[in-house]
């Protein structure tokens, strides 16, 4: 279980101090938790704080009761946190197989590496020896990023907007991957997303807005409020009145 206690994160911009996250406290123990909310609200920052890439300016992070606030990215990864980037990284020279092997943390057979790729809908034999460079499309990179998380199979998997940069058609297939993961994964999935179809399969939805938890609960509790308060709906409502 992941627990955030009074997490704050501020950056200095010139002479002004900008608070990105304000006093966030959350407990994440459901299997599939979605974080949503407006752009610039602090969602990605929160994910980076959980993975250890950014250090919070205040508050504590507990993983299964252990304080991991001061642990490095590597230490947290070894404690069981995986993080799929919003923008996957390209590597000149490293192949898909290299990355899957590093993710797994041990030598694996080609068949095993292929099985992870198949799970994300990539035809393994076409990809296994490809370099993870600019020759791969954004959608392909996203799938490889997700395959690495599946290969790790840790107790907490973070996904930062897996839908970003993917066309609608590929996304429909990706949804199936997450539906499958919901059934199979050993641990919790924490996924930042704006997609209603992702929110629909979540056990719990957390809304982060302006650096704070604006709402949290089941989709039945949160979704109607979310839709009613969104700007688009407001405009529409005004027109109707």
């Amino acid at each position: 279980m992941l627990e955030l206690q009074n997490i704050g994160y501020a950056v200095e911009e010139g002479n002004t101090r900008k608070e990105i996250l304000k006093n966030i406290s959350l407990k994440i123990d459901d299997r599939f938790v979605a974080i949503t909310g407006p752009n610039g609200g602090g969602k990605s920052t929160l994910a980076k704080i959980i993975a250890g890439i950014n250090k919070p300016t205040s508050g504590k992070i507990l993983l299964d009761g252990e304080d991991i606030t001061d642990l490095s990215v590597t230490e947290r990864a070894n404690k069981g946190i995986s993080f799929a980037f919003q923008q996957p990284v390209r590597f000149k020279g490293l192949t898909v197989r290299d990355l899957i092997t590093l993710a797994k943390g041990e030598k694996i057979s080609v068949a095993e590496a292929c099985s992870y790729l198949s799970e994300v809908g990539l035809c393994a034999k076409d990809y296994i020896n490809r370099e993870v460079n600019a020759s791969l499309s954004g959608g392909e990179l996203k799938r490889i990023e997700i395959a690495m998380i599946i290969a790790r199979g840790t107790k907490l998997s973070l996904f930062d907007e897996p839908e970003a940069g993917i066309d609608l058609w590929s996304f429909n297939n990706l949804i199936k991957v997450f539906e499958g993961m919901h059934e199979k994964i050993n641990g919790s999935i924490l996924i930042i997303s704006h997609q209603e179809r992702i929110l629909n399969i979540a056990d719990k939805i957390i809304v982060i807005s302006d650096g704070q938890v604006a709402a949290q609960g089941t989709k039945q509790e949160v979704l109607p409020k979310l839709l009613a308060s969104s700007e688009a709906c407001e405009t529409l409502m005004n027109k109707l009145v």
């Binding site: 890439i53 590597t74 020279g93 290299d98």
Partner: protein
């Protein structure tokens, strides 16, 4: 051959005792062993140090190994090797030089290799340079490669210098006739106070000739590298040159790609990128459980693979 020489041979040519096919092994300035085949002849030059390697037209799937090893400190070795590749041949040539210097004097090997590649002949040329030994004496390698490719000929040149060479100046000059192709893949890693300079000049003289010069390098420690590449398009042709370098510590890299088009139908491209390892690459691998040092090692290994 002693153990040091054997180990050098393994490093540069991946061979343990004697290679298959034709070979010429030069050790400390002397001929150590030679084998010729029905299609490949190796002849010692009479007027200057070096050998002529003569490959008959139509020779297919044969290889030639010509490693050079230096284990005596203070030896300065210089050779002229000429390769005559007959029309339509398809061969692999493995050259390379290993220096073990545990003395205080400078050991140096300068090889001047000239290739005459016949019509429609295909050559894969692999060259590895390696230095070792804990002496204060420097290990210097200055290879010059001159390539003439006739109509429809093809040469792929893979050169690697990963470790232990204190100073190197690599000159490569090529001229290509109609439909000829040249592909060069260079890998260099320097550390300590090493210096490496590579100079490529390619003349695309023939119709539909093409050249692709790709250099990947890593400069660690206080080392310095210079990459000069000049592709001249003198006909309807295609040329591409690319230099990609990773800087570490206080490494220094200068890349000077240049193109010269002397024909309206010449199409030439150059790319150069120098920088340290991208932070997001390190972080990505760290989220997989690697330490920063392990992540760095994986990225460099992949880059130089």
């Amino acid at each position: 051959m002693d153990e040091i020489q054997k180990s050098l041979l393994e490093k540069i040519a991946d061979i343990h005792e004697v290679p298959e096919g034709a070979y010429n092994i030069r050790s400390n300035g002397q001929l150590e062993g030679r084998n010729t085949t029905a299609n490949i002849d190796i002849v010692t030059k009479k007027d200057e140090p070096g050998i002529d390697i003569i490959i008959k037209p139509g020779t297919k799937n044969e290889s030639v190994h010509i490693p050079v090893i230096l284990s005596e400190s203070g030896l300065k070795d210089m050779v002229y090797n000429d390769f005559y590749i007959g029309e339509g041949a398809d061969v692999t040539i493995v050259a390379g030089c290993g220096i073990h210097n545990c003395g205080v004097d400078t050991s140096e090997h300068d090889g001047i290799h000239t290739f005459y590649i016949g019509k429609n002949a295909k050559v894969k040329y692999i060259e590895k340079h390696y230095g070792e030994g804990d002496g204060a004496g420097e290990r210097i390698l200055n290879p010059t490669t001159i390539v003439h490719i006739e109509d429809g000929g093809y040469m792929e040149m893979e050169t690697t210098q990963i470790k232990g060479v204190d100073s190197t100046v690599r000159d490569t000059k090529a001229d290509l006739a109609d439909g000829a192709t040249l592909v060069i893949k260079e890998k260099i890693m320097t550390h300590g106070r090493q210096t490496a300079e590579t100079n490529f000049t390619v003349e695309l003289n023939g119709v539909d000739s093409s050249a692709n010069v790709i250099s990947r390098s890593v400069a660690k420690g206080e080392s310095k590298q210079v990459f000069n590449s000049n592709i001249c398009g003198n006909n309807q042709c295609y040329g591409h040159t690319e230099c990609d370098a990773i800087l570490m510590d206080n490494g220094h890299v200068k890349a000077v790609p240049s193109l010269e088009a002397n024909n309206l139908d010449a199409s030439l491209v150059h790319e150069a990128a120098i920088g340290k390892i991208a932070g997001d690459q390190l972080i990505k691998l760290m989220t997989l459980g690697l330490t920063e040092a392990q992540a760095e090692e994986q990225i460099i290994n992949g880059f130089m693979k």
